[in-house]
Amino acid sequence: MQHPLTGKALLFYLLAWAAIIAAHANILFYQFGFDFIYSATDSLVYNISFLGFGLLYWYVVQYITPDSQGITATVLNQGLAVVIGVSFLTYLCNSFLASFGVDNPEISSFLSMSIPWRIFLGTFFLGMIVLVYYLLQYTANLKQKEKEEVELQHLLKNAELETLKFQLNPHFIFNSLNSISSLTLTNPEKAHEMVVKLSEFLRGSLGQKEAELHSLKDELAQMNRYLEIERIRFGDRLVLEEDINEGCYDRLVPNLILQPLYENAIKYGIYEQLESVKIFTRTHCTEDNLTILISNNYDSESTPQKGKGIGLKNVRNRLELIYGKSDLVTIKRERDNFSIELQIPQTTKNNDD
């Protein structure tokens, strides 16, 4: 986050200090009866040091946050840091001002007598500044969170729309219907089977409620319906292989997150090569993580028609927004093998809150 004291805020900050400087000098001049030069110098040296220190302190606030350390630790750490900082600054200022007191015992005794007051006042000023900083940081974080929330909602909507678009996708639905129409002429039994599969798939996709997560088992079942329809269409040209760890079945994944990956594998595998394409799925899980790998062979020599690249980008964005990490998708493009690996964290949101 940028330093909050810029522009108008900075002006306000400086004005406040100007008032303090004036008050400080006045008190020394009228109440304590020091001469004008000493009063002004004392006030300027002391308060300008704190003005600068206050500005710099923002960078300390950035590193000691309630989010990273908890509230108690933050208060203790900051309290200690402020007192030490203020004491050190007071010591420096007093050493400097002591040169005025070399042949003026009044100033010397005033300086040593006023140390507790100076530390108290400095701590008060800096404490106020730190408080303001935290307040600003908190508001900014809140705004950021709100923004992310809105964006997540937006992406969810988009994902739903994409799903809907996919269901009506001409190259899938119409080609499937054409396959069925063909089978009714040559193999009614198989046509029947395909109608059932297509219906199951559509029901599964349309039936997705807004619930963002569901089990890996449900996700794979839905993907299997899709892949089986494609297998009827493409016959031997589509080969499916899998290494699914059944122990991972109850792990949670965002729904239909695998859809774009399989669609991609078919698009760049089958649509751009003459040989058959083998799509391989592997899942692996630990206590707090689920890894899903989907790979397919492809013809690296081919000149694919450009896709819009929306599918994979959506997957990346969705995972980043749900889990708050940007490194969950790994894409590997080898000579004749394309693979994509998803890391799905298994810490549920409820535990975080």
Binding site: H171, F174, N178, I180, S182, L183, L185, S302, Q305
Partner: protein, 246 residues
């Protein structure tokens, strides 16, 4: 007997056409092909009068295939995409079937095709415009070049520059040259924005440009990253200026 060839990458889609063609005694299916490459070979071998052609196929789309056929047979497109229809008719396709289609609709398409086959002059006339219009409307991703029986597919990203050679264009890519029968004008319109026509006889890929040097009073020479030199006319220089903002 009229010879027909079915080209579609899905067996089930080919099955429908073959089955529906049983209604036409005068048409025989000479071959079935699962992709454009097989299609080109089969057409050379059988010289069919009628083609049933899918658009979306591996490596070579139906449209790209059509560019390579001279003369082209009468064509009935079949595809699941409706957005290709306009282009198909531009290419003077006899008909455009949207998958899935009924037996009646198929009959109608074949009857239109038979009409065309029986009036070959008319068909030939529209075919002359074919190559030109096929690439004029939308931006292309790749160029298909045929030399003899060998097909080369070049991604537009890999093209360095293009020069006019009489009725042909010469495509330069990675130090190699390929000849394709087409006009500069047609190609210019269908290439993406990274291509600039710097001269009546030259189009360059702007990413491959290294520098521009004056050549004579009114002309310049573009030096590509590969070291190759392409002459630039005054108007070409203006275009480059606009594009690159210098």
């Amino acid at each position: 007997m009229i010879k027909a060839i079915i080209i579609d990458d899905e067996q089930l889609a080919r099955d429908v056409i073959r089955k529906f063609l049983e209604d036409f005694d005068q048409i025989e299916v000479a071959a079935e092909c699962a992709n454009g490459f097989e299609g080109i070979k089969a057409i050379a071998e059988h010289q069919p009068e009628l083609l049933f052609l899918d658009v979306q196929m591996p490596k070579l789309t139906g449209f790209e295939m059509l560019e390579l056929l001279d003369p082209a047979p009468v064509i009935v497109f079949s595809t699941a995409y409706d957005q290709y229809a306009i282009k198909a008719f531009e290419l003077s396709a006899a008909d455009y079937l949207l998958k899935p289609y009924s037996r009646d609709r198929f009959k109608e398409a074949v009857n239109k095709a038979l009409d065309k086959i029986h009036k070959p002059e008319e068909n030939k006339k529209s075919l002359d415009k074919l190559q030109e219009s096929s690439l004029s409307k939308e931006k292309i991703d790749r160029i298909v070049i045929r030399s003899g029986s060998k097909l080369t597919i070049i991604s537009v990203d890999d093209i360095d520059y293009i020069e006019a050679q009489d009725d042909y264009v010469e495509v330069h890519s990675a130090g190699k040259k390929y000849l394709k029968q087409m006009t500069m004008k047609a190609l210019e319109n269908s290439l993406p924005d990274e291509f600039v026509r710097v001269h009546r006889s030259a189009i360059i890929h702007i990413d491959r440009l290294d520098k521009i040097e004056p050549y004579s009073k009114d002309s310049y020479v573009a030096i590509l990253k590969s070291g190759e030199k392409v002459s630039v006319s005054r108007s070409g220089y203006q275009l480059l200026k606009e594009k690159l903002g210098f």
